[in-house]
């Protein structure tokens, strides 16, 4: 059985091979086939593909309302959260607000806290929000500190800025 590939093609066809080898199907055929393919395999439509202009406007309105409601809910919720955190981080007595330097559990669990007056460098209080400028960086701030029995500072109250 002769199944060999042609290796000794007839030279009579050389010119025809060269001439015909340059020819391709007209471009219009590919275009029509691709259009037929697109009809055969339409792009998968998502739910939002079906929305009209009015539908999009409605969807945008609903989304905006939802976003607004969400922001409002967060805004209303935030004070509570801050309140909780404030409960954990600060406490108020008749003389003013204490800033917690340790956890609320640790402070509450302390059996014998004591109050100590101290001058604290302003620079070290910058992290707590005390205004700091080059002019007052070297100053100190009068504070009352709640200290544990072992000397660990638990909370701080700024009584006067010197």
């Amino acid at each position: 059985m002769d199944t060999r590939k042609t290796t000794n093609r007839d030279p009579l066809f050389d010119a025809l091979r060269a001439e015909v080898g340059r020819l391709d199907t007209p471009r219009g055929v590919e275009r029509e086939l691709l259009q037929a393919f697109a009809r055969q395999h339409p792009a998968r439509r998502r739910w939002y593909h079906g929305l009209t202009g009015r539908g999009w406007a409605l969807a945008a309105g609903v989304s905006g309302l939802a976003a607004g409601a969400l922001v409002l809910a967060f805004a209303l919720h935030t004070p509570d959260t801050d309140g909780d955190r404030a409960g954990a981080l600060a406490a108020r007595d008749d003389s003013g607000l204490f800033i917690a330097l340790d956890s609320a559990e640790r402070i509450a669990a302390e059996p014998a806290p004591r109050m100590v007056a101290a001058d604290v460098p302003r620079a070290s209080l910058a992290a707590l929000g005390v205004p700091l400028t080059p002019e007052n960086a070297g100053d100190s701030v009068r504070a009352e500190m709640l200290v544990a029995a072992d000397g660990q500072p638990l909370a701080l109250r700024l009584s006067a800025i010197q």
């Binding site: 059985m1 002769d2 590939k5 009579l12 010119a15 025809l16 020819l23 199907t25 055929v29 691709l34």
Partner: protein
């Protein structure tokens, strides 16, 4: 490094809706298919129609290719050949000619489109055009074998597969087709040699 995706993989992607895969298959195979159809039926318009119908059949799965049964290109040649035969059968009620080269008892030769009309010139090169015209006057079943062997480098077995005949028939058709071509081109060769 270019990695060529196999026809089978492109077909799988095409059936999953991959337009790019279909385009890649088309671009890979349209050229040989068009050239085969052009030489086989002798008309650029008919050849384009045949290519389009072949790929449309592949797309709609009217013609289902089985990778286990051979190469896609040979399958496409077979589909194109059948479409051309169908087209020729439709024209046979108008013109029935049996060429003198039809010696193996097959159906009579259906002249190509441009042979039924005045022989239209398809190619610029004179030698190429002479061979094309001589080829166009061969009986269709000889033309199939000669075109697939000489122009597309298919083996006897592959031609047998495309034409749905046995290898012995391919061999005899090829031999007779070449002899008929040589006879037809003898006069032109003598003139060309003298010139």
């Amino acid at each position: 490094m270019t990695i060529t995706t196999s026809d089978t993989e492109l077909l799988r992607q095409m059936r999953s809706g991959g337009a790019d895969a279909f385009a890649a298959l088309y671009r890979r195979h349209q050229g040989p298919l068009y050239r085969f159809a052009l030489l086989r039926c002798g008309s650029a318009d008919t050849a384009a129609d045949v290519v389009q119908e072949t790929f449309m059949g592949l797309l709609t799965e009217r013609f289902r290719f089985d990778p286990l049964r051979g190469q896609l290109q040979h399958f496409l040649f077979g589909v194109a050949r059948n479409l051309i035969l169908k087209n020729e059968t439709a024209h046979q009620r108008h013109v029935v000619l049996s060429g003198p080269d039809d010696e193996d008892g097959d159906a009579g030769a259906e002249p190509p489109d441009d042979a039924a009309c005045p022989l239209g010139r398809l190619l610029d090169n004179e030698a190429a055009e002479e061979v094309r015209r001589a080829l166009a006057l061969l009986a269709p079943h000889y033309r199939d074998a000669v075109i697939l062997y000489e122009m597309h480098e298919l083996s006897y077995a592959e031609i047998a597969d495309v034409c749905q005949v046995d290898i012995g028939t391919v061999r005899s058709r090829l031999s007779r087709g070449r002899a008929a071509l040589a006879k037809r081109l003898a006069g032109w060769r003598a003139m060309a040699g003298a010139a």
